[in-house]
Amino acid sequence: MAAQKDTLLARYKDMFRIRRFEEEAARGYAKGKIGGFLHLYIGQESIAVGASATLKPDDYVFQTYRDHGTAIARGTSTRAAMAELYGKDPGISRGLGGSMHFFDPANGFYGGYGIIGGHVALAAGAAFKSKYKKEGTVSMCFFGEGATNIGGFHEGASLAGLWKLPMVLVCENNTYAMGTPFSRTSPVEDITKKAAGYGMASDRFDGHDVQEVEARIGAAVELARSGGGPTLIEILTYRFRGHSMSDPGKYRTSQEVEERKKRDPLKVTKTQLESLGCSEDEILALENQVEEEIADAVQFAEEAPPARHDVMERSVYAPSNYVYPPVGQP
């Protein structure tokens, strides 16, 4: 019971960190400190945190452009993440990428991808390398429900199934592909029906309970790691904010959003913590730690030097004496 409480407290802290990071990112965006696009993960934190809990540091994780939460759950520092949003040199992609393009191999995070579906095949390639080199690692690829209609998804999933790769394909079905609900772009509602065509296992469940996410994804990770091949997982979730900061979200009603907020993963976990005997003060103490960390991250990003022209020029082609992979390099 005590162990369960401590674990759940840690999960809560990880989710709360992502939530607060993104709320501050939204504030920075509103102030014009962050430009371009900002896609928030708010409402889906249980998935990044539950999934990351099942992975080892050297496993491979690929995510879409909605990538802050997963990177932070994998261990990307909130300082480096915020600095990237600000386009600053100490950012996780040295300020060259921005919100959608986090990249942190030192923490097993192989990128946010702005082109839908193409990264599924990339994740299959990483899984192939793992199998080829007998690493015992797993490649986990996140994508939205919208991505399951595009060729890139199909091609990557086919390879994963064909080659029995150590891979977990996690579809975060947050109901809307930008402004269009899945029901209007797919002839079937249950995405895991596609798994049969790829010869892979499947699972489908609600994603608001971080413990449930961890247990169910954990089973798929075990299967992949033990040589049982890939699993297609569909997790039903919901984003509380717009597709991006510029999306007023007129395609859904405020009642619908409010209804879904009742199952906010943070609220759900808080209730579970209370039933495990956790006090208000214990939770508040954790939250205060996170508040300090996020305030520090914002200040760090504000004061950091901007992205550098020479770094950009040097980043286009590899030098002839390049040693691969660049793990641990800032």
Binding site: G36, G87, L96, G97, G98, G114, A177, M178, Y251
Partner: protein, 337 residues
């Protein structure tokens, strides 16, 4: 952004419209004129498009003519080719030109070659609309200008208007054209420029460039959002005694060779401006054409002011773009050579 001087030539009583509204009117007008015209793409129907260019069209023309598609660019363009082959005139929207590459195969392998491989019998009268260019800090997946890739593909036409008036007229011509037209919309201009645009239908023929500022000493060739930067640089150059002729290409391919040569023969000096990387950018082709057609008229080495040969940056966007502060020295140096 500076107002373009030709705005002043419009009738004063006309309503002022931005590029989004002008394009929306162009689409509405084509849908109304021809029942074979259909619009398809991600979020184009109920939502009205990622930049709201198709707002209200599904309500007016129905969901069988303004069609929400799954997120599948290859499927959108492939299906549009099939529609066009059998008598429809599809207008497909790709949300950002950077997202066009899953459909690159369909465009390059099928659409561009269809008339050729059917012995001249089956054209593909289709328009592919896509926002291009930087200026919104979108980074490397939301800012590129891929026009040269399509110009390099025989069988495709490529259009890139700079302003609301031209956009509406060119869009209507593109829809009526019997070939596949890549219609690139400068997203930086979408809501940044308002000008007088007639409510009623009108067309601007493809392949006609426009001199938007006459000059004597040097020619600057531009299109899309960079046209405004070229105009601003021309104005600054004028204050330093250099008279610049600004040419808006409007249609990039087939390009209006004669208008370019007329201007270059007059000034003897030429600068090309584009957002795309320099190497093998459209500027390279334009300056080669100048060499072929007006070599003996040249009085200075031609110059290119372009994006860098790097992926499109996030933070360093304002340095990457060939803005007026980079165009002006090129004009002055070329004029002084």
């Amino acid at each position: 952004m500076v107002p373009a001087p030709w705005i002043l030539t419009c009738v004063k009583t006309m309503p002022k419209k931005n590029l989004v509204t002008a394009l929306n009117e162009g689409l509405r007008s084509e849908l109304a004129e021809n029942p074979d015209v259909v619009v398809l793409g991600e979020d184009v129907g109920r939502v009205g498009g990622v930049f709201r260019v198709t707002a209200g069209l599904q309500e007016e023309f129905g969901s069988d003519r303004v069609i929400d598609t799954p997120l599948a660019e290859g499927g959108i363009i492939g299906a549009a080719i099939g529609m066009a082959m059998y008598g429809l005139r599809p207008i497909a929207e790709i949300q950002f030109s950077d997202f066009i590459f899953p459909a690159f195969d369909q465009i390059v392998s099928e659409a561009a070659k269809y008339r050729y491989r059917s012995g001249g019998e089956f054209p593909i009268p289709m328009v592919i609309r896509a926002p291009v260019g930087g200026g919104i800090r979108g980074g490397h997946y939301h800012s590129q200008s891929p026009e040269a890739l399509f110009i390099h593909t025989p069988g495709l036409k490529v259009v890139c208007p700079s302003n609301p008036y031209d956009a509406k007229g060119l869009l209507k011509s593109a829809v009526k054209d019997n070939d596949t037209v890549m219609f690139f919309e400068p997203k930086r201009v979408y809501r940044a420029v308002k000008m007088e645009v007639p409510d009623g239908p009108y067309e601007i023929p493809l392949s006609q460039a426009k001199v938007v500022r006459p000059g004597e000493d040097v020619t600057v060739i531009a299109w899309g959002a960079m046209l405004f930067e070229a105009l601003a640089a021309a104005e600054s150059a004028q204050q330093q005694g250099v008279s610049t002729e600004v040419l808006d290409l409007r249609t990039l391919w087939p390009v209006d060779v004669e208008s370019i040569m007329q201007s270059v023969r007059k000034t003897g000096r030429v600068v090309v401006v584009h957002e795309a990387p320099k190497t093998c950018g459209f500027g390279a082709e334009l300056l080669t054409l100048v060499s072929e057609h007006a070599f003996l008229h040249l009085q200075a080495p031609p110059k290119r002011v372009t994006g860098w040969d790097t992926p499109f940056p996030y933070r360093l966007e304002q340095e990457y773009l060939p803005l007026q502060h980079r165009i002006l020295p090129a004009l002055l140096e070329t004029a002084a050579y």
